[in-house]
């Protein structure tokens, strides 16, 4: 007889989500629903009627962790719609920004995920805030990596968080040779730190994978299952590092393969909570007797690629472009660490190629005729697709398919077969960033809104 347990809210990630889990008598998840309970931001509606210059800046405000990815995806979707090619040097600056964003985001995720892990050879959970060695120097190293990423973002993007420099048609300003040298020095400094850090993280993650039991942070130990966090869904990635847009000679993302269903049709119906655990770490689970109604409470649509959910993120990129094949929650975590070095080498290469006196703005910026433009930017957490239609310089239609939206249904599948007490470890492996993943437009083949049930 299966029971229903609810972990709400889940912790140590961006945004608000909860887990509604159907578990068997052994506590193994039979069906897992992981859903966003972050309220809808309404960015897509806000953008309509705004100028094409304004909309990407608004959409970047959806969150403060990957605003660079949202800015770039938004801008390139607009450029895709109006058919504007940007100068090479502007592209190089954007690549540097992309690397800086991925670097500081991955480093931040390490802080969030480390409390689940153990110091190898001991049964002690890692507390990244302890003043004691060896963890202290790891924390300092993470901070240094984040500082490097954000400083480069600040120099190239104009702001440490929401970049002001990218614009439709390229960038507002090129950087000076001095700034170029400064970025170069920072990257050279960070490169060696990152290699050390990557190796440390992979050791820790593999150690976790090899343990017979584990616990969430300071909670109690539970026996792990084989194939922890495995799922059978496919992967989707547009590029190993940067992205793809409809202006590419060979686009690597296909809007016609994308469909969306309502959370109403995807998540479980109303459930009575029949299992609770007052000793669950951080906070108790929801007391038994309460109700959970995932299909009504979820604040995302469920995007599909070829009619099925797909995983996006570091593992999807490595799997599609480098034949990476490690499955499970730790497979995804390890893939994330393996992306560190690419951030550095790609940024260094772009800096080398950058001509600081080159023009960074297109000579002509068309105003658009309302055709569809899209950009699939490989944000730290995965493929961030923005789609837009611009006519006479104004946004007519704007849609954001952000990484964690793609990952919600996949991760829900990956929960199956794991002990429910460790479900959060799987969720955190996806590095969820939920603020932007609140997307509610569901349309049928004739582009009519069919999500009426939600609005009732």
């Amino acid at each position: 007889m299966s029971k229903v347990v609810e972990v709400s809210p889940t912790t140590r990630h961006e945004g608000h989500t909860k887990l509604v889990l159907k578990v068997n008598d052994d506590g193994i998840i039979e069906r897992g629903d992981w859903l966003s309970i972050t309220p809808v931001r309404g960015i897509e509606k806000l953008a309509i009627g705004k100028t094409m210059h304004q909309a990407p800046k608004i959409s970047s405000r959806v969150c403060g962790i990957c605003p660079i990815a949202h800015t770039l995806a938004g801008i390139e979707a607009m450029e895709g719609s109006i058919g504007c090619e940007i100068p090479d040097d502007a592209y190089l600056l954007r690549v540097i920004l992309q690397c800086a964003n991925r670097l500081h985001s991955h480093a931040l995720h390490n802080i969030l995920t480390l409390p689940d892990m153990y110091l190898p050879g001991t049964d002690v959970h890692i507390n990244p805030f302890t003043p004691e060695e060896p963890v202290r120097s790891v924390a300092l190293r993470i901070q240094k990596l984040r500082e490097i990423g954000q400083t480069i973002g600040e120099i190239v993007g104009g702001e440490p968080i929401h970049p002001s420099n990218p614009r439709i048609g390229g960038m507002y300003k090129n950087i000076t040779p001095r700034a170029q040298a400064k970025c170069y020095d920072l990257l050279k400094e960070g490169k060696d730190l990152a290699r050390e850090h990557m190796e440390f993280m992979i050791t820790v993650l593999k150690d976790w994978d090899a343990r017979p039991t584990a616990s969430v942070a300071a909670g109690y130990e539970v026996e792990k299952t084989e194939k922890f966090g495995f799922h059978d869904q496919g992967y989707m990635a547009a590029d190993p590092l940067y992205g793809s847009s409809n202006l590419d000679a060979e686009p690597r993302w296909y809007p016609e393969r994308w469909t969306e269903v309502r959370p109403w049709d995807w998540y479980m119906g109303e459930q009575e909570i029949t299992l609770d655990d007052p000793n669950y770490p951080n906070h108790a689970t929801t007391p038994a007797g309460g109700k959970a109604w995932p299909q009504m409470e979820a604040c995302t649509a469920v995007p599909m690629y070829d009619g099925a959910p797909v995983e996006v993120g570091p593992r999807a990129r490595l799997a599609m472009f480098r034949n990476y094949d490690r499955k499970g929650a730790m497979g995804l975590q390890i893939a994330r660490q393996m992306e560190y070095m690419d951030c550095f080498y790609s940024a260094l290469e772009a800096l080398d190629a950058l001509d600081t006196s080159g023009s960074v703005i297109a000579d002509e910026i068309p105003q658009g005729d309302g055709s569809l433009g899209w950009c699939a930017n490989e944000a730290p957490r995965g493929c961030d697709v923005h789609l837009a239609k611009v006519k006479d310089g104004r946004v007519q239609w704007y849609s954001l398919l952000v990484p964690t939206t793609w990952n919600f249904p996949v991760c829900s599948r990956a929960l199956e077969g794991a002990p429910w007490q460790l479900a959060e470890v799987i969720v955190r492996a996806y590095d969820p960033c939920v603020s932007c993943a609140t997307h509610m437009m569901v349309v049928d083949e004739e582009n009519k809104v069919v999500a009426q049930k939600l609005v009732q």
């Binding site: 120099i155 968080i161 300003k173 950087i175 001095r178």
Partner: protein, 287 residues
């Protein structure tokens, strides 16, 4: 306290003949920035560089002595130096920024440091702020009218402009000098200058201007710990010739007199503005 807080006041001029050749008075700003650049106290300075039109300055981030030299001399129309303060720390990649400005620009700078709204990661990168004495400023078209119409000199021909001893003077490259009484220029002043209650850049690290010192020399107020540190090192290293301010004519008395004059006059404007129109007085920018 019309002269603000200061640690020391001296009369000084640059020791570098090249700087003095084209400087307004004592070449203090150029020399102090040049020293700070050489010593790594700053890695760039925002100065009033040459613009597209003659005597219309444009803010410039100078990272070499040559760029500093190109920005020598006073331009009597505004150079919006604060415009670059953020950009200097971004695409210019500076960590230690120097900036020169009028008293109002120093106020803007300190306000930005105190309330860094839209100025994230900027306040801690201000390494040296040099203020210049300022009685008032002209909009570019006003300056053009003064020089071209009143002084009958083409803007392109002017090599130096100066205000002193009650006169506005324009020197041309052919050696001609054209002077008009300062009173004739008052109507071209920017109205905003008439509510300013600061003559000697009270909020700068170091402030300087010609008033109070003999020709070719400048009066220098060293105001902050940071300013004192840079100034005393530069003097010790022989970058400046200095004279005791008490020993020179006309000395601090004149500075005090002019500062008091400006402040008293402008206080009246502020008061008048409070009851300007019917029931819609203009705000006092100082409260």
């Amino acid at each position: 306290m019309v002269l603000g807080n200061y640690k020391t006041a001296v009369s000084a001029r640059a020791a570098d003949a090249e700087i003095l050749k084209c400087s307004q008075d004592g070449g203090i700003v150029t020399q102090l920035f040049a020293y700070a650049l050489e010593e790594g106290i700053i890695d760039g300075a925002i100065v009033a560089g040459p613009g597209e039109e003659p005597w219309k300055p444009e803010p410039l981030v100078a990272t070499t002595k040559a760029e500093l030299l190109a920005a020598r001399g006073t331009k009597y129309t505004i150079s919006p130096n604060m415009m670059l303060i953020k950009e200097a720390t971004r695409s210019y990649g500076l960590d230690k920024v120097g900036i020169v400005g009028t008293p109002c620009q120093m106020q803007a700078l300190r306000k930005a440091q105190l309330y860094p709204i839209a100025m994230r990661k900027v306040p801690d990168k201000i390494a040296l702020a040099i203020g210049i004495f300022c009685m008032e400023n002209f909009p570019y078209m006003g300056l053009e009218t003064i020089v071209e119409d009143h002084c009958a000199t083409k803007m392109e021909s002017a090599v130096k402009m100066d205000i002193g001893k009650g006169k506005f003077s324009v020197y041309t490259e052919r050696g001609a000098l054209s002077q008009i009484p300062l009173a004739a220029t008052h109507k071209y002043e920017q109205p905003g200058c008439h509510v300013c209650l600061d003559y000697v850049a009270n909020l700068a690290d170091v402030s300087t201007g010609s008033v109070g010192s003999p020709d070719g020399w400048s009066t220098v107020f060293v105001r902050t710990k940071k300013g004192d540190d840079v100034w005393s090192k530069a003097v010790a290293a022989g970058y400046f010739e200095t004279k005791d301010i008490a020993s020179v004519k006309p000395g601090l008395d004149l500075v005090t007199k002019l500062a008091t004059g400006k402040i008293d006059k402008n206080k009246k404007t502020v008061e008048e503005r409070a009851s300007f129109g019917v029931g819609k007085g203009l705000r006092n920018p100082y409260i």
